[in-house]
């Protein structure tokens, strides 16, 4: 039994890295724009399709392909923010962004169905199915690489937010958009770039999703969004490190429950969210502590 528990913990940590890659963009966008991007699930799937296209058509390695898909998704994110999110004003803005981002999801899903069809695709590379034997466990390279990438990306985003002028502008906008405008920050530009960055990092999450999920089609995003939302709420809305911590926590918990009662794994996933929020309403790294840094 001890071995099963260790295996479940290892699985949870590694799978948590994958979920963190999918969730950091969502929490970053919320942190700056105060909107829940319902399209995050389909953007993950889009990232998977872009990686699939490069791998299948041009034989570009999945990780190397990120050098193309990440900038492409950044441009898409900026375009979405500029075209659909930025024009929304007034008191109904938050609720309207839910509808608009849902509409964006439907549009992207429709395009994917038209271009790629409904058949299930899977991302393949040598490291997707191969594993290394460490400490008595087979650890799949894809999860190891993905976890390292998640940590690096989180650190890079922290560096961007806390070590650059743009990051100061972002944090100022997160704290008070009106005050940020008053001191000369172009908050529209900050919002567009942040949305772009949030969507760009989702390309990495999409690649990992496509390589580890057993397959995907344009409909695969719907199961994801509720789990990603739970993760960013638990981590603390707007907290990038919180998204990583919450992903690892939730997926480890789920893996442990899988040992005894897998049918309860999903329920426990959300029950844990409720319990943690009862004790700590702002999640692990809620907005106030993050913004105080």
């Amino acid at each position: 039994m001890a071995r099963e528990i260790y295996q479940a913990i290892v699985d949870g940590i590694l799978i948590g890295g994958v979920y963190a890659l999918m969730a950091v963009g969502l929490t970053l966008i919320f942190g700056v724009l105060d909107i829940i991007n319902i399209a995050q699930g389909i953007l993950v799937v889009l990232g998977a399709y872009l990686s699939y296209g490069l791998a299948a058509r041009l034989h570009i390695d999945l990780f190397v392909g990120l050098l193309i898909t990440v900038p492409a998704m950044f441009v898409l994110g900026v375009a979405i923010q500029w075209s659909f999110i930025r024009p929304l004003r007034g008191r109904e803005r938050t609720s309207m962004t839910l509808l608009v981002s849902y509409a964006i999801a439907l549009i992207i899903e429709g395009i994917l169905y038209e271009v790629a069809g409904p058949n299930v695709r899977e991302l393949n590379a040598w490291y997707v199915t191969k594993s290394i034997h460490l400490f008595g466990f087979y650890l799949a390279y894809i999860y190891l690489f993905g976890f390292v990438m998640a940590v690096v990306l989180v650190l890079a985003l922290y560096a961007l937010l806390y070590r650059t002028g743009f990051g100061r502008s972002v944090r100022a906008t997160m704290q008070d958009e009106t005050a940020a405008r008053l001191i000369g920050i172009d908050t529209n530009r900050v919002a567009a770039l942040t949305f772009g960055i949030g969507v760009a990092v989702t390309a990495a999450g999409g690649m990992m999703f496509g390589a580890t999920n057993g397959g995907f089609n344009p409909n695969s995003g719907y199961d994801l969004i509720s789990r990603l939302l739970a993760i960013i709420i638990l981590g603390g809305l707007g907290s990038i490190g919180g998204a990583l911590a919450a992903s690892v926590f939730m997926l480890t918990l789920q893996s442990l429950v899988d040992i005894w009662q897998p049918q309860w794994a999903t329920a426990v996933f959300y029950a844990a969210l409720v319990l943690v929020l009862l004790v700590r309403p702002t999640g692990f790294f809620g907005r106030a502590p993050v913004r105080a840094q």
């Binding site: 479940a8 999920n213 397959g215």
Partner: protein, 230 residues
């Protein structure tokens, strides 16, 4: 097995039959059908070292995720049967790879090699229109086409689309024709005259009927699944 009404019955029946033959169950768990990541339960199955895996799957991604996790764990069961997934033709092959597909089995009532003139016409016309090979045609194609055939016969017989008349007709002990073979609904709405077989992906990207071994059209089963090839 997934918590799904179409995935569980064949698994539970197989478990009962195998238990009666003295086969010991080393792992039997139900997981939510909507679970987004199967690695943890798949790793538990691999750790059990079971010689036979009967997966109550609902679709290709579920099966592909288990296969991927098994390969990562350097674990290949001798027999690997799935409630659904391997019957999806080219969609299954493209997801798991042709080499890994060899030995994968699935129960069903129809396959592209089904010896029925109408079925063979459907297959040839389908391949002519969409390309690929006969083995690459998903069972969903025949199932959907059969629904249309049954409805067409019911509408013709009742002279219209009156729902009550069609229901009465279909439950009226009538035997209808379909590309999957004869259709005759019992009081539960199940096809009482359908046959059940087990099919297997075999070398050469072909999807063959293998069980019952004595049934007409059955090929020799691959009794030990080859090692993963990716």
């Amino acid at each position: 097995m997934a918590d799904a009404p179409f995935a569980d019955p064949p698994v539970q029946l197989a478990q009962q039959m195998l238990s009666a033959l003295g086969v010991k169950t080393v792992y039997s768990k139900i997981f939510p059908a909507e679970v987004a990541d199967y690695k943890a339960p798949a790793d538990q199955v691999a750790a059990s070292g079971a010689q036979i895996v009967i997966l109550g799957s609902t679709d290709v991604p579920t099966v592909a995720a288990f296969m991927q996790a098994f390969e990562q764990q350097h674990y290949t069961p001798k027999l690997f049967l799935c409630a659904a997934g391997p019957d999806q033709g080219s969609a299954f092959l493209s997801a798991v790879g042709k080499g890994n597909a060899i030995g994968m089995m699935v129960p069903n009532g129809w396959y592209p090699g089904f010896n029925d003139p109408a079925s063979q016409t459907l297959i040839s016309e389908y391949v002519a229109k969409y390309g690929g090979t006969p083995s690459g045609v998903s069972a969903d194609v025949a199932e959907a086409y059969s629904v249309g055939q049954v409805m067409a016969q019911a509408i013709t017989a009742t002279g219209g689309t009156d729902n009550a008349k069609i229901i009465s007709y279909l439950h009226g002990n009538v035997t209808l024709a379909s590309v999957q073979g004869p259709v005759k609904f019992d009081s539960l709405g199940e096809n009482a005259v359908s046959d059940a077989f087990v099919f297997q992906w075999q070398t050469g990207d072909v999807f063959n009927q293998v069980l019952p071994a004595t049934a007409a059209g059955s090929k020799t089963i691959i009794g030990t699944k080859p090692a993963w090839t990716s």
